[in-house]
């Protein structure tokens, strides 16, 4: 549930514990990871500004979108950014991540655009994304600048870990994340990941490092992966507006909590609702069998009504079993030859039929060949 996530991030870390960390992962089949990220960001910001959370400040590390985008976003959600620059700071790794522009201006070959030079109060440009330890220092510095030293904590939001992984190795990125988590002053941390941009191992590592994993999955899988089908187009379109929001929480007692919700993308953001269709959230330990071993009530009645092809039914009356030949001398010879009905003592409910053709009638019951023939079947 999205509220539980935001609540856990708001409550932050206990003393001596690592900060809770959230991974939001999506894929091309269900691509609204960023909407969820924005939702969590705005929720956490409002908690921080209202003073309801453990952390007193938020550092947003912007890789894939510019800081002004985030400030706009928060303004649209009703969060007053201007007065909150004491609480929310962005680290701009978007404009000049590798420091090329500044180097070009130094050599004089490049006239910096005027809007680049005006650095607003809420953002700091970071130019060295290849070095994770420098990034770590900048984040911590920014955070401490917001909340001061001592015991006051701040939260960190990382726009996209994918961008970090482009520039630095997996081990340095995970080193940064784990150092942030274990820092005394970090209250909570969350990041966005597009899982199909990386190998499975990367996703596994980030899930290992986080205490909550929120994944977005499509509601309906397109059949056979074929793209050109009209049916599939509508499914894909459907998937672009709705999805399954699947969260795994690692709880303190060592158990894993799994929750499932539906997420709708709307004009202003995302909406989370309970899952409309029924589905098992957890695949339990009960083994999945291919066939149902249980009978429904109707099936039970039908089963009781089927008369088995034994000549002695146990009710004192012998039954003639129709054996496909017209050797019966009773009134039953009106019946057509191709009839498949056998016993007529009770009404079938129409579903249960046993078709029995007697093998051969001319063998004497006590023949030596088959000792079973003296049975009365």
């Amino acid at each position: 549930m999205a509220e539980s996530i935001c609540r856990l991030l708001r409550d932050g870390a206990l003393e001596g514990e690592h900060a809770p960390a959230l991974t939001i992962k999506d894929s091309i089949a269900s691509p609204f990871g960023f909407h969820v990220f924005a939702h969590v960001l705005s929720q956490l910001s409002s908690f921080i500004l209202a003073g309801k959370s453990q952390s007193r400040g938020l550092v947003v590390v912007c890789f894939s979108r510019s800081p002004s985008f985030y400030l706009e976003l928060l303004k649209n959600k009703g969060i007053d950014v201007v007065s909150s620059d004491k609480r929310i700071q962005t680290l701009d790794c978007y404009s000049d991540p590798l420091g090329w522009k500044s180097r070009l201006t130094e050599t004089g070959n490049f006239m910096a655009c005027s809007h680049e030079t005006s650095i607003s109060r809420t953002t700091n440009v970071f130019k060295d994304v290849k070095h994770m330890d420098k990034l770590y220092n900048s984040i911590v510095e920014l955070g401490k600048g917001l909340v001061g030293g001592g015991k006051i904590r701040f939260s960190v939001a990382i726009d996209s870990v994918d961008e970090m992984l482009r520039h630095a190795s997996m081990s340095s990125v995970s080193g940064l994340l784990s150092k942030l988590r274990s820092h005394d002053q970090v209250s909570s941390i969350f990041w966005l990941l597009h899982s199909d941009l990386h190998e499975a191992k990367v996703t596994a590592v980030l899930e290992y490092l986080s205490s909550m994993v929120a994944g977005l999955e499509p509601l309906h899988q397109p059949a056979n992966g074929q793209r050109g089908d009209m049916e599939n187009f509508s499914l894909i379109e459907h998937n672009l507006k709705k999805g399954k929001f699947h969260v795994r929480f690692k709880r303190r007692n060592g158990r894993v909590r799994v929750m499932l919700e539906e997420v709708h993308v709307e004009h202003l953001g995302v909406n989370f609702t309970a899952l409309s269709s029924e589905g098992a959230i957890n695949q339990g330990l009960v083994p999945k069998v291919q066939f149902s071993l249980q009978l429904s009530e109707k099936e039970r009645i039908d089963k009781a009504n089927v008369v088995l092809p034994f000549e002695h039914q146990g009710n004192g009356k012998p039954i003639q079993i129709y054996d496909g030949r017209r050797s019966l001398a009773d009134s039953k010879h009106e019946r057509p030859v191709g009839a498949t009905e056998t016993v007529q003592t009770s009404e079938d409910s129409g579903r249960g039929e046993i078709i029995y053709y007697r093998d051969s009638d001319d063998e004497m019951p006590d023949s030596d060949e088959d000792p079973d023939d003296d049975l009365d079947i």
Binding site: S169, M170, S171, S172, S174, G175, L177, S178, K179, S182, K201, A204, V205, E207, Y208, L209, R248, F249, K250, R251, N253, G254, R255, V256, R257, V258, N282, Q283, G284, L285, V286, P287, V289, L293, Q294
Partner: protein, 368 residues
């Protein structure tokens, strides 16, 4: 003319090394093995005595639960209580901090789990004469349980109270060594430390005087710089195994298998003498609650995949390989066999003998 020494036949048991005067921390077992305790009495029983000296124990972590830390804590605390030197390596900045979370041995009086034994002892009187056959191999653990000593140090295997931290004086001794493996670019530092540590306990034919414990936590953790050097890590494990084999020490390595490529994961598993794995339990799972008794108290599952067999060809076949980890009174770690709850007659489904584990992304097998 040299006096010919009477040569014992090749089939006689060589009990000369099985002197029980080594102290409480070590115990002799069959096939000339000497065991040390894992710190969890139930686990010692399952494994047939404990961890044999010279073996490499590997624990596969579950990325979603910290149960391997429980195993490590008990292992390390047991070593400290028995005065066995310890080398601890972890990817944390300051591994010493972890030592503060080690549990203290529970006072024997508090331990109610052995209440049933006096009743059983009475029952054993009838079979009294058979005890003489057990004495030689010292496989009988019932005697162990009955001996309640005043001082926890004299027991082979202690129950640890996870809520009480270990006394400081155990930690201040000289023989606790910590290594941080986070920043080292390769494994040479760790290898040297392990090598010097294990050379303190050379194995010779005499009796074992002291044993050492090596604990390496989260060996392939992603923040370690060497974590993508898979062949190097494998060769480290191999050299650690040979170091440990030729010395009187036990090494335990925990690692998260989901972070390794599948072929390396298999190779690591084959390297182990004793292989255990821990698994998280999904919370509030109604199916599981119906399937297993005692679901509410469980914190996780422990699977025993392999038990060390050194000096023998006979494999260990365990009655059960999956155990539930429970915290009795929230303090004592106990391992219990999984008990299937009575199946409700009206539901009609049969559970069968194996099922797949839920929750985690990898399927596991439960053996009832």
């Amino acid at each position: 003319m040299a006096a010919a020494k009477t040569r014992a036949s090749s089939f006689s048991r060589n009990l000369s090394a099985a002197a029980p005067s080594q102290g409480p921390g070590l115990k002799c077992g069959p096939n000339g093995l000497v065991f040390l305790s894992s710190g969890i009495p139930d686990l010692d029983k399952i494994l047939g005595g404990g961890f044999p000296l010279g073996s490499l124990v590997m624990v596969m972590e579950d990325a979603e639960a910290p149960h391997h830390m429980l195993l490590l804590r008990n292992f390390m605390a047991q070593g400290l209580v028995h005065n066995q030197p310890l080398l601890y390596a972890s990817p944390a900045r300051d591994p010493r901090g972890f030592l503060g979370t080690l549990p203290s041995p529970a006072a024997s009086k508090d331990n109610k789990s052995y209440e049933t034994d006096p009743d059983q002892e009475k029952g054993l009187r009838i079979a009294w004469q058979y005890k003489k056959y057990f004495g030689e191999n010292q496989l009988n653990f019932d005697g162990q349980k009955g001996s309640l000593s005043l001082d926890g140090k004299h027991e082979y295997s202690n129950e640890f109270d996870l809520r009480k931290p270990l006394d400081r004086h155990f930690l201040n001794r000289q023989h606790v060594d910590c290594v941080s493996i986070q920043d080292s670019p390769d494994l040479s530092v760790l290898r040297d430390r392990c090598s010097t540590f294990s050379s303190q306990f050379p194995r010779n034919d005499g009796s074992v005087s002291c044993a050492g414990r090596i604990a390496i936590q989260s060996f392939c953790a992603p923040q370690c710089a060497y974590s993508n050097m898979e062949w190097d890590m494998l060769s480290f494990i191999r050299s650690l195994k040979s170091m440990v084999r030729s010395s009187n020490s036990v090494a335990i390595i925990t690692f998260p298998p989901s972070l390794l490529s599948p072929s390396f994961c298999k190779r690591w598993q084959h390297m182990a003498d004793t292989l255990l794995s821990v698994k998280a339990i999904p919370d509030e799972d109604k199916d599981l609650a119906q399937l297993l008794t005692g679901y509410q108290e469980m914190v996780g599952f422990l699977n025993v995949h392999k038990v060390a067999r050194i000096n023998t060809q006979v494999p260990v076949i365990l009655e059960a390989t999956t155990f539930s980890i429970k915290l009795q009174k929230r303090r004592y770690l106990v391992l219990e066999c999984l008990n299937q709850a009575p199946v409700d007659g009206s539901s009609g489904t049969s559970y069968g003998t194996s099922g797949s584990c839920s929750g985690s992304s990898k399927a596991g097998n439960l053996d009832f």
